[in-house]
Amino acid sequence: MELTDEKINELKKKANDIRISLIESLIAAGSGHTAGPLDMADIFTVLFFHTLNHNPKKPAWPERDRVVLSNGHICPVLYSTMAHAGYFPVKELKTLRKFGSRLQGHPHRDFLPMLETSSGPLGSGLSQAVGMALALKIDHSFTSNRRIYALLSDGELEAGQTWEAAMLAGKEKLQNLVAVIDRNNIQIEGYTENVMPLESLSDKWRAWNWHVIEIDGHNIEEIADSFETAKAVFEKPTVIIAHTIAGKGIPEFERDYRWHGNPPGKGPTDKVPADKQAKVALAELRTLGGKIESEHQ
């Protein structure tokens, strides 16, 4: 699909709508993760509204591409994107983390069968995606156009299982597999390079025979191009290291690891008092950081 200027603007607007909905769902839930979902909104938007071969009305369509969310804690952005794509009603997002909700605190297929996997414990998503890519390889060599997308956080790369999976994918030359790393440099206890240095990240993946692409994870065109480029890579899996800004879209929350695991209302209070956080977050998103006039002003 061609990426016109009009389409780029449409995707930008969609990403913002997805951010608003996910913040609204976190506010309603009163708990959950904020920084990662916000910074992955642009990538989710491009995937679900431009790149993926899928059908929200027929989620079990066998020919679909698969998206494996490894770091399940950023599910508010997955749920919000899926709702906006038409998998389920947007208003259901307000049930996040509530008893009986299909939108469990970490994704669970028993409750929402249209999910490709249940996830939460970090480090196992890439392995599952490798298994899916291997199944396609066994059945079709690489003649099928179907692709497997694994979405990972940077912090979870500290779990050794990711590297076991990376080795296997390199060995099996899984050209139908794309991993996207949310390189936001934060994790729950601090900055990744303080908790456990990950650099030089691209060299590590190259060493396991992966094709590495580094992008600005908030540039719609770069994101879309990277997925297209991956389709033209042969005999290697592709990893897209997406440089993102934790908490992207709400300047008061950006680049602060303390927003990893807290919703608006329960985050750090040195910039915004707790009782103002929800209002500030929604105002920033609804006005694109003051660039447009809010409907509430």
Partner: protein, 321 residues
């Protein structure tokens, strides 16, 4: 069966043959192994179907989750390693990516029990029943011999659920034939009092190769005038509760026999069932809160109190309770 020259075959051999047969019948069956293909007898499958075999290297956690991904695409993956490493090392991956995710992966843990022998305690899984039977959806099967292991492997293919299949390394006596009925979750009685004799006084419930020791004990006890029944409890989960309760009602006393820690194992599963439904005195044969060590199969079974003499002793003890 009671002859000293009884035919002996490793239980894992039956798995290898069963997987080959399952693979011939069902093209969705795939094999995944962590550098122990020959040791777990998966080589019978991998040599015949190299395109449906994946060698993941020494990476059991990855193996479990890769299998989950394969199953999500419609495959029926069998993953094999030593029980100590799978389901030992990769327990959380089995719990979350296979069972919580409801993917029908078959986890094959070979080299369970102290009978692994000279390799020593690090490689003797005697906690695996405890850690698998607590996971929802996971069936736990512990065949008594190679022939039963073959049947269990073939039937596991079609359950649509995750399954843990417990295998042993060493040669052990063949107690069943190709014609012996086998159904997952349905126990069998392998020893009844002879016709015309008094009713059984003790029920012995055994799992795995130690069933043979239980049968030797039963024969010895019969010669001394003590009548018992011996049950082959090959499926530890789901438990055949009705058959266990019926045995307790017939005998009033139960001895469990397993090559596993006493705490949390098959005996505990039986005790949970009977305590709730029909409490009777019980004795537990198994490893008593200890680790294994190097030795021969026979030396280790005797040392840890799981041999025929120990079973006879437990029966005599429970008769006095």
């Amino acid at each position: 069966m009671f002859d000293k020259k009884v035919e002996q075959v490793p239980i894992r051999q039956g798995f290898g043959e069963g997987l080959l047969a399952a693979g011939e019948k069902n093209l969705q069956v795939v094999g995944v192994c962590a550098d122990l293909t020959e040791s777990t007898k998966m080589n019978l499958f991998s040599e015949k179907f190299p395109n449906r075999f994946i060698q993941v290297g020494v990476a059991e956690q990855n193996m479990a989750s890769v299998a989950s991904g394969l199953a999500a695409m419609g495959k029926i993956p069998f993953i094999s390693s030593y029980a100590m490493f799978s389901p030992g090392r990769n327990w959380e991956q089995i719990r979350t990516t296979i069972c919580y995710n409801n993917q029908p992966v078959k986890i094959v843990g070979s080299h369970a029990g102290v009978s692994v022998g000279p390799d020593g305690g690090t490689h003797q899984a005697i906690e695996d029943i405890a850690i698998t039977r607590v996971i929802p959806r996971l069936m736990v099967i512990s065949p008594c011999d190679s022939i039963e292991a073959k049947k269990a492997t073939m039937l596991s293919t079609d359950t649509g659920t995750p399954v843990y299949l417990r295998l042993a390394r060493d040669k052990t006596p063949i107690m069943t034939t190709e014609d012996t009925p086998f159904e997952i979750g349905k126990v069998q009685i392998f020893w009844h009092p002879s016709e015309g004799r008094t009713k059984p006084e003790v029920g012995i419930i055994a799992t795995g190769a130690l069933l043979h020791k239980a049968l030797l004990a039963a024969k010895d006890l019969e010669e001394k005038g003590i009548e018992v029944e011996v049950m082959n409890l090959h499926t530890i989960k789901p438990l055949d509760e009705k058959a266990i309760i019926d045995l307790a009602k017939r005998t009033g006393k139960i001895v469990t026999v397993e090559e596993h820690q006493i705490r949390g194992g098959m005996g505990s599963a039986v005790a949970e069932c009977l305590a709730k439904n029909f409490p009777v005195p019980m004795e537990f044969i198994g490893v008593d809160d200890d680790f294994g060590q190097s030795g021969t199969q026979d030396e280790l079974i005797e040392h840890y109190g799981m041999g025929t003499k120990s079973i006879i002793k437990a029966v005599n003890k429970i008769l006095k309770r």
